[in-house]
């Protein structure tokens, strides 16, 4: 078992999906143990892949394996897997978080209808996501990209009895679809010039300077559209908060740790091409910054725990794009990994709170949960601290890396904006924690019924909290070497970036200051879980507060566009279809035929002399024509 068999990592969950989909309903306990088994196997196998990769000579990978898929004309399509350090990092993240979510779901989804189907789609999702990160050509990547979108749709709309859930699933799918069309156009444009779908051939083609620069700029903008859609960057961010309608484990897995980072992964993979196309990196950075700031503002006014976390996810994804746009994919992947761990932890923690309070997600009814939910509270604290960037937790190191690369590449203004977003992140995270866990409970009835969930749900929380603490430390060379990565982790992820990494202590101090500022403001405003200060602030600036609460009216704007633009256009199209295609084309043709038949039937007089006249006339005409032609 080595990296060449990496496809097994995706094949095993895929096979389990088929099994569960077919017979899951009849299995005892809905087959959840089978799902855990499949994911657990992939988790274990990913270590083998890692070991195999480390065992290659000094150049770490890549290890590829491809089969001939089909031949169209002169074009030979090969599909295969590609394993290199980025892939292995993604493997680790995906399988770890999937495994934790699968175990957690056994407790969370207990008693829900269609229990077996939940686990089946979780397997399909894991398979498609794993396939996405090991695809060696853009076509296979696009196929798995769409597959993860489908799984997201199925899982968001899991409670399809609820109208809001189906609407949210539709919204997610349609919004990402718009991005996906861009991605497809970008892929086709790249193929048209480079003649291949294979990612590495495209990269070398671009680095060889064979693309014309405007063409490459346009194609990569389209490709980035796909990344924006899937990773919910502004203005495509509208679907992610609504996606919280799905069960909380789904939010943890798909909308925090794995699917939404597909856009980050895609950009990281194609980063060499982005760097060749001038201007795209600036666009990426700006999109990331704008999104981070915008969603941080929106998170201020949310009262639903999951929605706050959702906006926070979008903002952190923005951070990852800032790092990518600054040309530092290792920082982005590092932040991706740490964010996956602590964000999944936060989501699962909120899931634990939700189950404990019997499905109450509104912060205005919570408070003082710490006493009743000690394990959840502690792990949630660790996760929030990591998100806010408290040293020495993982979030501190990765966020520091992102700020450092933004500063190096773009200068102080980028650092200032990113830093501002980081302050706000710390602020609303503190707000979330205080209002949920600290102070006096707001709703006594809810408080009475709260009970800590069992170990099947708190176990994953503990494990993820452990990862959130230690995963940041791999950034040090010593730790990396101790774990067996030659040259430390950053050299592992992207060989050329080893020189870029160095701890800038001044910047580290700055990030610490940023986190402290955010936490301090949050603590001051909500001390003792009173909303006195924040409510007075809200009433003093009502219009701002409304804008924040309504998420800057993005949804209303989009709906207006759809109502006016799209439906107006479809009215035109339907008019065309009814009056021109149907009445004139279809009915008209039939009526012409009928009418001509009606008039021509008088030729059939039944009289012999008439028919003889017809023959004779025909002969005369033909003879005449013959003479004319032949002279």
């Amino acid at each position: 078992m080595g990296a060449e068999q990496a496809w097994l990592l995706a094949a095993i969950p895929a096979g389990m999906f088929v099994v569960l989909a077919l017979v899951g309903r009849k299995l005892p306990r809905g087959g959840d143990y089978l799902g855990i088994l499949a994911i657990g196997t992939s988790f274990v196998l990913s270590f083998f892949v890692l070991a195999d990769l480390l065992g290659t000579e000094d150049k770490l990978g890549p290890i590829t394996r491809a089969i001939d898929w089909t031949q169209i004309g002169n074009f030979q399509l090969r599909m295969g897997t590609f394993v290199d350090p980025i892939t292995v990092v993604m493997f680790g993240v995906i399988t770890t978080v999937s495994l934790m979510v699968n175990i957690f779901s056994v407790g969370y989804m207990k008693g829900e209808p269609r229990y077996w189907w939940f686990f089946a789609v979780l397997q399909l999702f894991a398979a498609s996501m794993l396939l996405l990160v090991m695809a060696d050509n853009l076509l296979l990547l696009y196929i798995s990209w769409e597959l993860v979108g489908v799984c997201s749709f199925l899982l968001i709309g899991f409670y399809w009895e609820k109208r809001s859930a189906t609407e949210a699933a539709k919204k997610a799918f349609i919004t990402t679809r718009i991005g996906d069309v861009g991605l497809l156009i970008g892929i086709i444009l790249l193929w048209r010039e480079a003649g291949t779908f294979n990612i590495h051939e495209i990269i070398s083609y671009a680095e060889g300077g064979h693309f014309s620069s405007t063409y490459l700029f346009v194609s990569m903008c389209f490709v980035f559209l796909g990344a924006m859609g899937k990773s919910a960057q502004a203005p495509f961010h509208v679907w992610l908060p609504d996606a919280m309608e799905g069960p909380t484990p789904v939010s943890a897995l798909i909308h925090a740790a794995t699917m939404v980072v597909a856009g980050v992964y895609l950009t990281a993979r194609l980063l060499p091409v982005f760097e060749v196309a001038d201007g795209t990196t600036l666009i990426i950075t700006i999109v990331g910054l704008v999104t981070a700031v915008l969603t941080a503002f929106m998170a201020f006014a949310q009262t639903d725990i999951k929605k706050v976390l959702a906006y926070s996810t979008v903002g952190q994804l923005g951070f990852m794009f800032v790092a990518l746009g600054s040309g530092n994919p290792s920082a982005a992947m590092f932040h991706l990994m740490t964010h996956a761990f602590f964000k999944a932890l936060l989501f699962l923690g909120s899931g634990s709170v939700i189950v404990a309070t019997h499905h109450n997600q509104d912060m205005s009814k919570l408070g003082g949960m710490w006493k009743k939910l000690p394990v959840t509270g502690t792990t949630f604290l660790i996760g929030s601290a990591a998100l806010a960037g408290v040293v020495p937790l993982a979030g501190f190191w990765s966020k520091d890396e992102v700020l450092h690369s933004a500063n190096t590449e773009w200068g102080v203004w980028a650092l200032a904006i990113a830093g501002g977003a980081a302050v706000m992140t710390a602020f609303y995270t503190t707000r979330l924690f205080i209002r949920t866990f600290m102070g006096e409970p707001r709703d006594a009835h809810v408080y009475e019924q709260t009970k800590e969930p069992g170990w099947v749900m708190t176990g994953p929380l503990v494990f993820l909290a452990f990862l959130a603490v230690v995963s940041g430390l791999v950034v040090f060379h010593g730790v990396g070497k101790a774990l067996g990565f030659p040259g430390g982790v950053t050299e592992f992820v992207f060989l050329e970036e080893a020189e870029r990494y160095s701890i800038d202590w001044g910047l580290a101090a700055l990030s610490l200051l940023i986190s402290a500022t955010g936490i301090g403001i949050g603590a001051w405003m909500y001390w003792g879980n009173s909303t006195r200060r924040s409510t007075s602030l809200a009433t003093s600036y009502p219009r701002t507060y409304d804008a924040l609460r309504n998420k800057f009216y993005f949804d209303e704007a989009y709906q207006w566009c759809i109502d006016r633009g799209l439906l107006g256009f479809s009215f035109l199209v339907s008019w065309f279809d009814r009056y021109i295609v149907n009445d004139t084309g279809v009915d008209g043709t039939a009526q012409v035929t009928g009418f001509s038949g009606y008039t021509l039937k008088f030729l059939q007089s039944g009289k012999l002399p008439n028919y003889a006249m017809g023959i004779a006339l025909g002969v005369v005409v033909l003879a005449f024509a013959g003479i004319l032609v032949r002279g």
């Binding site: 002399p609 008439n610 006249m613 004779a616 006339l617 002969v619 005369v620 003879a623 005449f624 003479i627």
Partner: protein, 167 residues
């Protein structure tokens, strides 16, 4: 010289008789004119030195076909009353136009073409040995098929025309 004059006499006779067939008001008269026309064509065959064909023409057409026609006329009691009936149908003028058009096309085609191998204006003589040799050797198969055709036509005519029970 004499043959030429004779030829023209016969040609005129043929045309007159054919005109009589199609223009006559009495059906019986048309039948008689038909006999004349067929006989004239037979004479033409003699001019073209295929006497055998002339013989066949007289025998078959003059003997069998016209008798058959007269027989049919008698069986269906046409023209028996002797009064002139309305023999022309409603599309007679158009028919005249078509006929004239056809005639002009044919005459034009005949006149405007240069015919090969014809320098002496004289027909080559055709002997009966040639005819028989060709008929029974080269075209033996069509000959046999034609015989079969005659048999089938005979049987078919009998079946078509017989009287059934109760008629």
């Amino acid at each position: 010289m004499a043959t030429e004059v004779l030829w023209w006499i016969f040609a005129t006779a043929i045309v007159a008789a054919s005109a009589g067939v199609v223009l006559s008001r009495s059906i019986i008269h048309s039948a008689i004119f038909l006999i004349g026309s067929l006989a004239g064509v037979g004479a033409m065959y003699v001019f073209l030195t295929v006497e055998f064909l002339a013989l066949v023409q007289f025998l078959i057409y003059g003997g069998a076909v016209t008798v058959l026609i007269l027989l049919a006329l008698m069986l269906t009691r046409m023209g028996v009353t002797g009064l002139p009936e309305k023999v022309n149908g409603p599309q007679a003028p158009f028919a005249a136009l078509v006929g004239v058009a056809l005639l002009s096309i044919l005459v034009y085609a005949a006149a405007a073409t240069t015919w090969p191998n014809n320098l002496t204006d004289k027909p080559f003589a055709i002997s009966i040995e040639t005819i028989s040799e060709k008929l029974f050797v080269d075209y033996g198969a069509p000959f046999v098929i034609a015989s079969a055709l005659l048999l089938v036509a005979l049987v078919g005519a009998i079946i078509l025309a017989r009287q059934e029970e109760g008629e």
